[in-house]
Subunit: 252 residues, 4 copies
């Protein structure tokens, strides 16, 4: 898994503080940034936090580059709708170098690891053979329809992977660029940093939190699973390790 | 693929006409429905259409039950963010009866079909074996931690499928309930009924359009790919069959 | 204030239970509704609630007709973005019968009430005079540009109210149709039924809650300000009346 | 009207080009920015435009500070739901220096201007008197309930403006911070730069477009009303000046 913070709203905490200042104080657009010392910025962020006023943090956005994560993870992260996604398409980009995510629990059991790798290798072979069979069929159809061979081969290439990818496994890796604002990120961290979240997206969310906390420590100081901010919200389903988890996220 | 219109806003066209009537005419909440004959409803819908005023159609929502579609399709449909999804989780529900989507183009080529089915059967075996290996490992861990065997076996069941599903293919079927309002559906149909859309989601979108047109024919009369309403919006990427496609969607 | 529940997803609780059933159990689209007795529906809704799993309740939508509320309220309710609004336009519909909201606290103080009513009457006169002055000016311009008088008068009518409405007060009433799904409504009720919310939107939210609870009592049984479900989330800003408020919303 | 571009995603065009590159080409997160010369960036943006592929432009966000606009404008701009707003509250910030927007058409007619200014001055007086009456009443109530005078006066201040603002006019100015991503902005410009849009929001939208075009000229080169990109989408309601408008937005 490779996760990078590609770009973000410059001075994210000051931007949020400006918005808070405008809401609650008689201030002017031209002098909004004036006098916003780090201490004042912190005071505004604390005030928002105390008020439970979440909307001003939406003004700060963060863009991540993510690769080496599974298609299973993709299915989970794209369920977050207040976010922007650009995903490398299996429909357009051929899986020449078939890469996959090996779950740590499977890796730790030799028999399971062997079974898993065998499955991946077979999938790669099936994908290649299907792509070839589909391609030859498309080339033939296109040439029968009067296309010259060179052009037919080029078109057929793309047509063939559209269906061949049906045999690719959930473990297959993907790449994406994801942008979320701070409010949506806070919600994402609450759900996905939780000890009950699936391991891969929990790892991704934890890395993303580490990255944004480096550039906006005050904004994300309370970010993490619900237990970081109070009682575990999972009720009867709680993992029962709130103290341990809380410590982990305070010292990420 | 099995697609059902499970429920929808009662009297969807009248509801939308009410909203249009309120925006443009001096009218009262208590008498909004009064005098809304089918002719008046049609007139209001035509007026909205002529004005390009899309927001009133948001008041009508449609809920679909969908099954027998691939995980590839799931990845595409969940990219539509103005929608609500409930999806059968591979994380919680074990794939006892491993079902998959066989793409028609693959089915039509005997060698490809054989290759595909072999891939599916291998995946099913790998999934079962991995689930067993992981389960036995989890049972052992839980019992070592003092859990009794019965309870350990129950917990281990769920833990084992979380990672075993990494070998399941894109072809694997899923089930979901999807709700979209009419405006979001219009956009969905524009993009996914298009001849350039991937075949499976195009089939789903076309079936969904057929279902909503039965209950709201006037509201969805211009629904379908962009070429139904004018020039093809795909420009240089156009499929070049606008006339044919247009006829197909007018007589769906 | 006049609030009506105009329409809603039929059988809202059963629809939500179907979605929950599909997520967690091996079930089929064709038999989803089978066996969903009222007891089973309640059990599924309780399970969602215990899990904190909010997304399935999005499948149920509710559409309200609202009139006799102020433009101040409009500015507040339209800040809820997961909602659909159709609002009677001050730009298109002339305020012939100038109606306004008289805040109860002002009504209770005779001097304030007199001051307020005087303000409203002056505004009505200014609006009428401005509309006339603007209209005559537009008629003249249009006729100078060659338009015949009748057509000029018709066009000028609409042009004149666009700017005349700048003198209309916040108290001026408006009408709207609003659709929200149950999840968005739950959030709306949390924020706007709160004792710290502004009185007019609190009254509206409370009436809306009463209306939806009549048709979906189980779905909205925990709806209301945060204190209904646990500790007051307002922290240091708490109104300090949680017990009283809780009782009010349990017996709405 | 004072409009400032307060902050925005650094290198917005390059960020969007990265997202496009990832979708369509075999590329790595670590080398995404490599080789993205201005020419390559332009090529990717042109490709997105030709494909009608709008989602990658969502990764670039723009934050504006806006003041000196009317409450009427606020009601319009907040209808754009894919946006983040922080607005100076009339509920918390007292309108000491009552400022208002004087519509140019009214300013141009001496009698209308006099009528308008008289209305504003009366409103200011009514607001002040109501605030005082309400404040004295609240002070009395609070002191009767045992509060000391100083504390009572402080609390009463805020309580009094909540209802006094009901007499404030639509013309009353407000301040806000607004963040939209490039895709939402493109839609905003299409609707609000249109010659048929209301004059005040058209002026705001045009200024916002000028500001973003300075920092992302390629990204917003086709931004503006629909007629800039082709035939007028307003059909029978068209202003009939497409050529003129088109020229205006090309040379903004």
């Amino acid at each position: 898994m490779n996760v990078k913070l590609i770009t973000y709203t410059p001075d994210p905490e000051k931007t949020v503080a400006c918005a808070a200042k405008l809401c609650y104080a008689a201030s002017d657009i031209d002098t909004l940034y004036d006098g916003l010392t780090p201490e004042k910025v912190s005071a505004f962020l604390d005030h928002l936090n105390a008020m439970g006023h979440e909307s001003p943090i939406e003004h700060a956005s963060f863009t991540f580059g993510i690769e080496g994560v599974s298609r299973s993870l993709l299915a989970q992260i794209t369920r977050h709708r207040i976010a922007s996604f650009s995903v490398q398409s299996q429909r357009y980009v051929r899986e020449d170098s078939f890469e996959y995510v090996l779950p740590p629990e499977i890796e730790a059991i030799p028999a399971a690891k062997a079974e898993f790798i065998a499955a991946m290798e077979e999938d790669a072979r099936h994908y290649e053979r299907l792509a070839e069979l589909l391609k030859e069929n498309h080339v033939k159809e296109l040439m029968d329809a009067g296309e010259d061979e060179k052009s037919a081969r080029r078109k057929a290439e793309k047509m063939s992977i559209e269906d061949a990818r049906f045999v690719l496994p959930n473990a297959c890796t993907t790449k994406m660029i994801v942008t979320m604002n701070a409010r949506s990120l806070m919600n994402f961290f609450s759900l996905r940093c939780c000890n009950r979240a699936q391991w891969e997206i929990r790892e991704l969310a934890t890395r993303m939190l580490r990255l944004v906390r480096e550039v906006a420590p005050h904004l994300f100081q309370n970010a993490g699973p619900g237990c970081v901010r109070g009682a575990c919200p999972e009720g009867g389903m709680s993992c029962g390790k709130a103290a341990e988890i809380r410590a982990q996220f305070q010292n990420l």
